[in-house]
């Protein structure tokens, strides 16, 4: 398995663990500031997925750079669609003149979910392109 694939699986694992932990926290504690703490698990994505013993950096050749570029592009497109959909949904549900009062934890959770979405889609796209896409 290449470094890119390891990174993809590792990132998906971290995002999946975060979602699972979030669901568990919400079930026991309910929505609130405490549940936001599970997003700290996303910090795992900063740890290199390959070779703990002698980490030499991710080895990227031209094909992997191309896959990474496309994966980023796809993840940003998905994020943008979600963002536009979210903004329009607020407009249609609350109306143009409505005033929103949002607790900080809810705003932060929204940002965390957006980051999770970008990382998850990027990792998934990387794995798909690596295995079966036109650049596989």
């Amino acid at each position: 398995m290449s470094d890119s694939e390891k990174w993809g699986w590792w990132t998906i694992g971290a995002v999946a663990l975060t979602i699972a932990a979030y669901v568990a926290f919400v079930a026991f504690l309910g929505h609130g500031p405490a549940t936001s703490s599970v997003f700290a698990l996303l910090a795992l994505t900063a740890i290199p997925a390959s070779s703990r013993r002698h980490f030499k950096g991710r080895r990227f050749d031209e094909r992997e750079r191309e896959i990474a570029r496309k994966a980023f592009s796809v993840s940003f497109s998905v994020f943008w669609l979600a963002f536009v959909g979210f903004v329009l949904a607020i407009y249609f549900i609350k109306g143009w003149d409505a005033t929103l009062t949002v607790p900080v934890w809810a705003l932060e959770e929204t940002l965390w979910w957006a980051a999770s979405l970008v990382m998850g889609v990027q990792a998934l796209t990387t794995l798909v392109l690596y295995r079966g896409g036109p650049h596989a």
Partner: protein, 80 residues
């Protein structure tokens, strides 16, 4: 037979065999890429950059046109 899509065919697998059954890993190391990229090239799923094409040709000691072959589309053939 020529298709609607341009195609770059390569003879990497045969050249590896001709060069003492060189492994994909050995070729990858000498060309400065990962083994997965060599696998993708041999499967015809990835078209290399000009730089990588020359590097691979250099590993085999062959001119690049002996390793890679451009197959024109029907449209390109008609217009030429």
């Amino acid at each position: 037979m020529h298709s609607q899509e341009p195609e770059i065919k390569n003879y990497i697998r045969r050249l590896r065999f001709d060069h003492g059954e060189m492994t994909q890993d050995q070729l990858a190391k000498q060309a400065g890429v990962t083994r997965h990229t060599i696998m993708a090239l041999e499967a015809g799923k990835y078209f290399p950059s000009l730089l990588l094409a020359f590097r691979i040709a250099r590993v085999f000691g062959e001119p690049v046109e002996q390793v890679f072959e451009y197959r024109a589309t029907e449209g390109e053939l008609r217009s030429s």
